[in-house]
Amino acid sequence: MYDQFESPEPDEAVKLALRRIDEATARGEGSDVDGLAFNEVVVNMGPQHPSTHGVLRLVVTLDGELVKDVIPVIGYLHRCKEKLAERRTYFQYIPIVDRTEYVASINCEWAYVMTVEKLAGIQVTRRAEFIRVITGELMRIASHLVAVGTFTADLSPLGTAMVFYMFRDREIILDLMEELTGARMMFNYFRFGGVRYDLPDGWTSKCRDYLQKFPKMIKEYEALVDDNAIFLQRTQGKGVITQQDVIDYGITGPNARASGVELDLRRSRPYSVYPELDFEVRTEQHGDIFDRYRVRMDEMRESVKIIEQCLDMLPKGPVQVGSLRAPYVITPPPGSCYVGQENPRGEFGTYIESDGSRYPYRLKYRDPCFCNLQIFPKLLSGNKIADAVAISGSIDLVLGGIDR
């Protein structure tokens, strides 16, 4: 192996990539163009790279423009989220859950709170359930806006415009959330058995105004890219995830639905008040980049429908169980519990094992991005660099969730 650009001391991942090249050459599979046997180059994409949306590092073996092999390296954003739980009471841990997957933080809160409620047998008030669905779906829209915006930004300066348009819309959601919870990203809003505050005066009408405008905005975005021949050429038929892949790699969320797998925990393992709501699970057929983008656009429309129904059905009543003070210290009985929740990126599961004390004995997340990341080596190899960037953008990873 001769690498002209060998760095002084390659780390484990680069060594693995180099070893794989050696092995492929030994098997006679090394690329051999015009008698030049060794023309692969190992490139580090990340952790500081404009297109990885965070600190994901991909060790990419390139043969000219062609991606031969990909080794994802994670852990640059590891903050011991799971270990932290073991030294905090159940209540103290809520703000930390927010920071696991920060793009849709309220959905993570929801998953955690639901697990603890199930473990401790706490009943949630009906009004609080509806408020939870409203905030969760608002954040799903916000999260999909970020996902689609940054994905199109990977493709072009046109996408940079898309990002700004989409962030403009996301800003309104964040304003709504700020009015409701007092925070724009790290809400710390859910409580065991309810939510922290009731909806402020006039909030519902503001929300309705926004929901009326938003579908028009989606149409605008679709007009911007869906009809663009270059965009279609770059996205259709590239990075196909088959149904078998979805099963093999445990892919969930919009990525699975783009491959025609009708897997949506809001339907298939319903929680909260979702069984009472009328919405569709949007799927596509081809499983390529374009379909993953389409599913996200359609899901935003469905979310709008869900929120509108919730606002119509919103019952009166308390938003927390018992007295004004929510149960700050709870001691669930010994036992373990896993609850999966439909995060914007897939199934966000929380597993808690309780030993009957004030602290969880063990907490473990099943993060959708972590599972979706695993298909990267298979999905990216054999594509051009530009395609690889587009594909990794379309999978929509949030490193906060992967590294925890």
């Binding site: 199109t152 415009a161 663009n228 021949a229 270059i230 259709q236 499983g287 051009k384 530009a386 960037v389």
Partner: protein, 373 residues
């Protein structure tokens, strides 16, 4: 003796003007583009430095000059330094044959158009040098992309320019401008050639949608990844000055150069001052078009880019030359014949390219295997 002194002073004057145009154009274009993009993207853009942020790029230039002169350990020291020094040569030297206005032109070469084409390829060399000598894999890939792209797109650019020489009957740029007096702009006779030239020149400038050599989402910043401070500044200035220079070439060859209403009305020292205004106005319309195009199209992919040059632009350019030659040879009032042919070709190209592409994509989509059961 006096002749020699005047000649030397004249040479110095034009070198100063050329460099001034490059630097001023780059600084103006950077702010112009940032503001225009901001306007189109629903945000403010730089608006704090000076009135409406016009001084932003001057502040940036000083910042860049104040930065550390950094060179990577493994880089080739000589070539790494040489590349940013030579990158400007193309943009400066090209102005030797461009008449800014009546009476303000460095030299009147009898092979002006050939000189234009020859000197534009100089930038490729610097980019290749810079990318190769930085010893960075992103730079290398970016530089190779740049070389492949710029060499490919030079050919359609030449094919577009040949029409100008054919119509005018001279390679001398003064003659081209003189031909267009009385609003007989060549773009009226040969809009299709202009289209080919303009698309190719966008690719020559490495601007979106052809900005693959420095596509920031893929290659960090392509050939310039390892450059920082004023060395990066030289590449950056060249790129943005290139917008104005290319538009100047386009205006000179296709849009009547400095001709316009009242041109020649104010005449000091043998220089037509109104002409400069027209020249700049036309140039900046084209510069704005470049910015607009950059915003509205996604980036092409390497194979699509090459296919577009070799399978679409070059065959069409060759056919265009053939048809133009035939019209000039056999049609009696060939100017009208050429205009009719070229406008038809122009609208056919603009109108049909998108539907044809989309039809192909739709067919591909229908044939695409469905993964859901």
């Amino acid at each position: 003796m006096v002749d020699i002194i005047v000649g030397i002073l004249r040479a110095i004057l034009f070198v100063v003007i050329s460099y001034a145009v490059v630097f001023v154009a780059a600084l103006v274009n950077i702010v112009f583009e940032r503001r225009a993009l901001a306007f189109m993207q629903d945000r403010h853009g730089p608006n704090r430095t000076g009135p409406h942020g016009v001084l932003q790029s001057i502040a940036d230039a000083f910042k860049m000059m104040g930065k550390e002169d950094f060179r990577p350990l493994l880089a080739d020291p000589f070539l790494f330094t040489l590349a940013p020094v030579t990158v400007m040569i193309g943009a400066v030297a090209i102005q030797l044959v461009i008449p800014y206005t009546g009476g303000l032109m460095a030299t009147s070469l009898n092979v002006g158009i050939i000189f234009l084409v020859a000197i534009t390829s100089f930038t490729t060399l610097s980019i290749l040098l810079g990318g190769w000598s930085s010893r960075n894999k992103y730079s290398l890939v970016g530089a190779l992309r740049a070389a492949a792209q710029m060499i490919s797109y030079e050919i359609p650019m030449i094919l577009g320019l040949i029409i100008v020489a054919m119509v005018v009957g001279s390679l001398r740029i003064e003659a081209v401008v003189a031909f267009q007096s009385g609003y007989e702009w060549i773009v009226f006779y040969a809009p299709f050639s202009f289209l080919i030239f303009y698309i190719a020149s966008i690719a020559e400038l490495n601007r979106g949608p052809f900005d693959l050599p420095e596509s920031e989402s893929e290659l960090v910043s392509g050939y310039g990844t390892e450059y920082s401070g004023m060395r990066f500044g030289m590449f950056f200035l060249n790129e943005y000055a290139g917008m104005t220079i290319m538009s100047m070439v386009a205006v000179t060859l296709f849009f009547g150069g400095w001709m316009g209403p009242f041109a020649g009305a104010i005449d000091f020292w043998g220089v037509d001052w109104i002409g400069i205004v027209w020249f700049l106005a036309k140039t900046y319309v084209l510069v704005f078009a470049l910015i607009w195009i950059r915003l509205s199209l996604p980036r092409l992919q390497v194979d699509q880019l090459m296919a577009f040059a070799w399978k679409v632009l070059i065959p069409l350019g060759l056919l265009n030359i053939l048809a133009t030659a035939a019209i000039m040879l056999w049609v009696p009032s060939w100017k009208w014949g050429l205009a009719v042919f070229s406008w038809v070709a122009f609208f056919a190209f603009v109108g049909l390219l998108d539907p044809i592409l989309k039809r192909r994509l739709r067919k591909l989509r229908e044939r695409q295997p469905v993964v859901s059961a």
